[in-house]
């Protein structure tokens, strides 16, 4: 073995060792600071983890852009059909007076709110951009109670790591990490463009997460569960999206 190739072998070995230990340290730090998404496994796990970790660090305190009233898109486009469940039709016939949002899990005081209850809490209105993963987007004004306020009312426990939210449509549920759940622009929305939230847009209640794509903004929400472990929900990937082949984190 010549000197050159020996030197090369040693440098390569050292670089590989440094790389491996670097990865191990990075993994420890990422676990500790919550930078690993629930769908980190599988073929696309590496890219997904890099995206989530990078954006989680960058967007810690950032606010989604808010627009002037003149920027509101007319008419707003409502994608999809209202839920076909009999329960939904019954509630809709009653003007959603009996709609309930149940909040449970790792909370001190589990509670359930009607739409009217939520309207008695401090509200926030914001004009933000909603982009669908398909490519289209619109701007609208959304009004609702900040999710952080709802979580304050029920009192979340210190070990809380995620908020899981469910639609009346059993095929649609999702979850947020605490950074997005406690973000001031994350709203339990009941109003849109100065009126009640239309059924096409998720009325009576839709969770609005303006720093993520449309599909994280689950419509017709009936339940919020605070948890420290996503494994117990569905296939354990954090939402129905990864089960259908889509990323859990949709800040992209």
């Amino acid at each position: 073995m010549s000197d050159l190739s020996r030197r090369r072998l040693i440098t390569t070995g050292l670089a590989a060792a440094a790389g491996a230990s670097g990865l191990a340290v990075a993994n420890k730090l990422a676990q500790r600071y919550g930078l690993i998404p629930p769908d980190h496994g599988g073929l696309y796990g590496a890219g997904e983890t890099l995206t989530y970790a990078a954006q989680r660090i960058l967007t810690k305190h950032s606010w989604a852009r808010e627009f002037p009233r003149s920027a509101i898109t007319k008419p707003p486009f409502a994608d999809g059909e209202p839920p076909k469940q009999e329960a939904f039709r019954r509630l809709q016939a009653g003007g959603f007076a009996d709609w309930r949002l149940h909040v449970d899990g790792l909370v001190a005081r589990p509670a359930s709110f009607s739409v009217a209850d939520l309207k008695n809490h401090p509200s926030r209105s914001q004009i933000t951009h909603l982009a669908c993963e398909e490519g289209w987007s619109y701007i609208a004004e959304w009004t609702g109670v900040p999710l952080s306020h709802v979580l304050d009312v029920v009192g979340i426990m210190p070990q809380a790591r995620y908020v899981v939210y469910f639609s009346i449509d059993p095929e649609w549920w999702d979850s947020l990490d605490m950074a997005d759940a406690l973000h001031p622009q994350t709203l339990v929305t009941y109003g849109m463009n100065g009126a009640e939230l239309p059924v096409g847009h998720g009325g009576p209640l839709r969770l609005r997460v303006p720093r993520q794509l449309g599909y994280k903004n689950v419509k017709y929400i009936t339940r919020l569960t605070v948890t420290d472990d996503l494994k117990q929900f569905g296939e354990g990937l954090g939402s129905v999206s990864p089960e259908g082949g889509y990323a859990w984190y949709a800040g992209i």
Partner: protein, 240 residues
């Protein structure tokens, strides 16, 4: 015919980063087409839906029923894995690109092979390079070791203009990135403008790929491929 074997034409780093970039680009292209198919309409500004006027619409069927295309059918929806693959390949190509640029600066590859040489910057050098290209003239021996002036400018344009622009416009479509760097979106004209520009730059990159492959065939496919795989080039003319 005697073939003169000589020193390396492409360093190991150039070869490895070239083929990783190739794989990533193909993954980005295929997944990008799949993503576009779900909404083949393009807009200018911040917003755009099927209710608002489009800048243009590609005359293709869509993979979602919400888009009126004029076709009586909807293509299978492949957006899920396409998006996962698109972002994973984007990470890989960005990391590879950084590695390439930083090592090119240190190894002298950038100065020696990419920046135009003094003599290249004359009109004479340019017009002769353009004339040679238009005549589909096979490159001479002197080009077996480095790039001609047109090639240098094209590579510089792809590496330092098209790739950064496609990354920028891609990131500008992200609502989370827009929340951190709002002006990166507004200077482009809005999120839908970013998407439209992203599409056009991808078209330019695809055209570059086609011309690149054409030029390799013209210059001697086997020789140029061998140079990019093994690093060695044969200087003598070779019948591919």
């Amino acid at each position: 015919m005697p073939v003169r074997e000589a020193a390396t034409r492409h360093s190991a780093l150039v070869r490895v980063t070239h083929w990783i970039t190739t794989a990533c680009f193909l993954a980005l292209l295929v997944s990008g087409i799949e993503i576009v198919i779900s909404h083949p309409r393009f807009y200018w500004g911040e917003t755009g839906t099927i209710f608002t006027p489009a800048l243009f619409q590609l005359p293709i069927p869509a993979s979602r029923s919400s888009v009126p295309t004029g076709y009586g059918y909807v293509l299978p929806d492949q957006n899920g894995w396409s998006r996962y693959l698109h972002f994973q390949a984007a990470w890989a190509v960005v990391i590879t690109g950084f590695l390439y640029i930083i090592s090119s600066l240190f190894s002298g590859h950038l100065q020696k092979n990419l920046l135009p040489r003094g003599a290249d910057l004359s009109w004479r050098a340019f017009s002769s390079a353009i004339a040679n290209h238009l005549r589909f003239k096979r490159p001479g021996d002197e080009e077996a070791w480095s790039y001609n002036p047109l090639q240098r400018l094209t590579y510089l344009f792809v590496i330092f203009v098209l790739f950064p622009m496609v990354i920028w416009t891609g990131l500008a479509m992200s609502p989370a990135i827009a929340s951190v760097f709002p002006s990166a979106v507004t200077v482009l004209g809005g999120q839908q403008s970013a998407r439209t520009i992203h599409f056009f730059i991808s078209v330019f990159l695809f055209l570059f790929l086609l011309v690149h492959i054409m030029m390799i065939c013209l210059a001697g496919f086997r020789n140029r491929m061998r140079a990019m795989i093994t690093g060695r080039a044969a200087a003598g003319k070779e019948r591919a």
